[in-house]
């Protein structure tokens, strides 16, 4: 394993996850507690990262915001995997049939809609919410996993061990589950971390333009949006949520890179 990338990656991620989990039990201050007298303070012994324009403790808001970010991105990855992987497996098992064609054309279609457009469409009709953000990012993830799975599964289907399983009389679905899927897990784990980190970025973007989690639920993206008008007065308001996003995404990417090096037998054999 590439420790130089896994260790810092895992460290950053653990900090974020611990912060998020901790916020369920304890935060330094109540995130709903307004304290106008102490607004826009910089770092101090009481407020480690200062306070925002309404006097709320920034560290507490970041901790609760981490919860939203992680939850939205993670559920979106599961939606993408849960729908995309079976579709991809099925398309590969029945390659060149009309089912395959339909699935792939459907994929092309979703590719034509960036996640943001999906979110905008959902929001235009149902109004903004964290659930809509999850659905939009999740739908965006589906073709990513479907294509990846189909491509990798197609090349597995030409392998002789799959032919051997067919000679043993096993059906397409059983072979997909027994022989194809286990050989895709590495690939899916790596792509999962990539989509997870993209999901964090997308969630931040959506809540920044007001299409994500709604007040009073704190989210990193909205903290940035609120800081924008005050950027000359209190730049630290924009700094910390941004850094929180960068560290989380960086941690996930480093971890993903390390995992790929470790899991990819092609790379491992060379060591």
């Amino acid at each position: 394993m590439n420790w130089r990338s896994v260790v810092p990656g895992a460290f950053l991620l653990v900090v974020v996850i611990v912060g998020a989990l901790c916020s369920f039990i304890w935060t330094p201050f109540d995130v709903a507690g307004l304290d106008i007298r102490n607004k826009m303070q910089t770092s101090s012994a009481i407020h480690w990262l200062g306070t925002d324009h309404l006097g709320r403790d920034i560290l507490s808001m970041l901790m609760v915001g981490a919860r939203t970010s992680l939850a939205v991105a993670l559920v979106a990855v599961f939606i993408g995997m849960g729908v995309g992987v079976p579709l991809g497996l099925f398309a590969a098992a029945r390659r060149n049939s009309w089912v395959d064609e339909l699935i792939m054309r459907g994929n092309d279609l979703v590719f034509a809609f960036p996640a943001l457009l999906i979110a905008i469409m959902i929001t235009a009709v149902f109004g903004p919410s964290a659930i809509n953000a999850i659905i939009a990012i999740g739908i965006f993830n589906i073709p990513v996993f479907a294509r990846l799975t189909r491509g990798a599964a197609m090349s597995l289907w030409t392998r002789e061990f799959i032919m051997a399983a067919r000679v043993a009389g096993k059906g397409e679905l059983r072979i997909s589950y027994e022989h194809v899927l286990p050989n895709l897990t590495n690939l899916l784990i790596v792509q999962g971390t990539i989509q997870f980190s993209l999901g964090i970025l997308a969630e931040a973007g959506l809540s920044y333009i007001g299409l994500g989690a709604q007040p009073p639920i704190p989210s990193w993206g909205r903290m940035l949006a609120e800081s924008q008008t005050l950027i000359t007065l209190a730049p630290h308001l924009a700094l910390y949520p941004g850094l929180a996003i960068v560290f989380t995404v960086l941690g996930l990417n480093l971890l993903g890179d390390g995992l790929r090096d470790w899991l990819d037998p092609r790379l491992r054999r060379e060591r």
Binding site: I122, G210, I231, A238, G242
Partner: protein, 316 residues
């Protein structure tokens, strides 16, 4: 080659038709009656009836869909409910901000990524490679709108080189307008450049392991010559895919970035329209963006055929 283009054109058209159906269903059918949705909860029945008549909602949904689609084909996007002006005019002005912004960013990202990726690949395992890879790792992790805020803080507020926002109309001259698009384009381009650099590098490294690279070296080409003459063009195939995908990210990113810089582009228009429940505008802008994405995908497909003769001859 001709057959290939025709086939791609066919799938482009099919995608557009299905996309328009989806947009129409989500925006006009799912909310129930668009007129009462657009007027809100407290609307009077006769106002709703008047709007229904005005929007032509009396006819069947199929008819409405068809007239919407055929209207768009002829450049008629309907009337904005809020502003009572043709949507085509509103969109037209703003398109000339959003589209140049996305293209500017795409050009920047490509101009940064190609040399950086080639450089990193040719110095694989050395310091330059690690340095470039470190920067890209950071570049991918930075959200573009936050990066935009930092750019504003540094280059507009502190250094005063650029204005913090707003757009200088094209009438004031090409360079003035481009200058007002520069910070937004940089903010959009850098994260994409980071991704593209990584793809360029890994694609080149993959190609460098191919048998024909050994043939090229056995011919007497130096490592660098072999890279430039034989690896580059082959490595372009995955890179083109990413460039195509990036355009759709850039379109989406532009919508967000326009908010940071107060640019009166399509992004601002779409949010305004959502707030004002002006569904006709929302619908049209979304279709327009989808159209842009699909066209770029088509151009990328054509570029594939230019790069890879096997596609031209229909082998793959």
């Amino acid at each position: 080659m001709f057959r290939y283009i025709i086939r791609r054109l066919g799938s482009l058209l099919a995608t557009l038709v299905v996309a328009s159906l989806i947009v129409f269903i989500v925006i006009e059918v799912v909310p129930g009656d668009p007129a009462s949705f657009m007027l809100g909860l407290n609307a009077q029945p006769d106002t709703i009836a008047a709007l229904r008549a005005e929007l032509g909602l009396d006819v069947s949904k199929v008819q409405r869909y068809l007239s919407w689609v055929f209207g768009m084909v002829q450049g008629d996007f309907g009337q904005s409910y809020t502003y009572r002006t043709p949507v085509a005019d509103m969109v037209g002005d703003r398109l000339w901000i959003s589209l140049p912004l996305a293209l500017y960013a795409l050009a920047l990202s490509t101009l940064i990524a190609f040399p950086a990726g080639i450089w990193a690949a040719s110095r694989r395992g050395r310091f330059a490679d690690s340095a470039v890879m470190g920067f890209t790792q950071l570049g991918i992790a930075v959200p573009n709108f936050w990066f935009a805020l930092i750019l504003v803080l540094v280059f507009a507020v502190n250094l005063g080189w650029f204005s913090a926002g707003g757009f200088v109309s094209w009438d004031a001259g090409f360079f003035a307008s481009m200058k007002s698009l520069t910070l937004p384009a940089v903010a959009l381009a850098l994260p994409q450049a980071a991704i593209l650099t990584r793809v360029m590098r890994s694609s080149l490294l993959d190609v460098m392991g191919e048998d024909y690279m050994r043939t090229a070296r056995a011919k007497g080409l130096s490592e660098r010559q072999a890279l430039l003459r034989h690896a580059l063009r082959n490595a372009l195939i995955p890179v083109l895919t990413i460039i195509g995908l990036q355009f759709s990210f850039l379109i989406a990113g532009a919508i967000i970035i326009e908010n940071v810089f107060f640019l009166p582009g399509l992004g601002r228009l779409i949010f305004q329209s959502i707030a004002q429940r002006d569904l006709i505008v929302v619908e049209s802008v979304i279709m327009l963006l989808v159209f842009a994405v699909v066209i770029v995908t088509f151009l990328v497909d054509i570029a594939y055929a230019w790069v890879d003769p096997r596609l031209r001859h229909g082998v793959r």
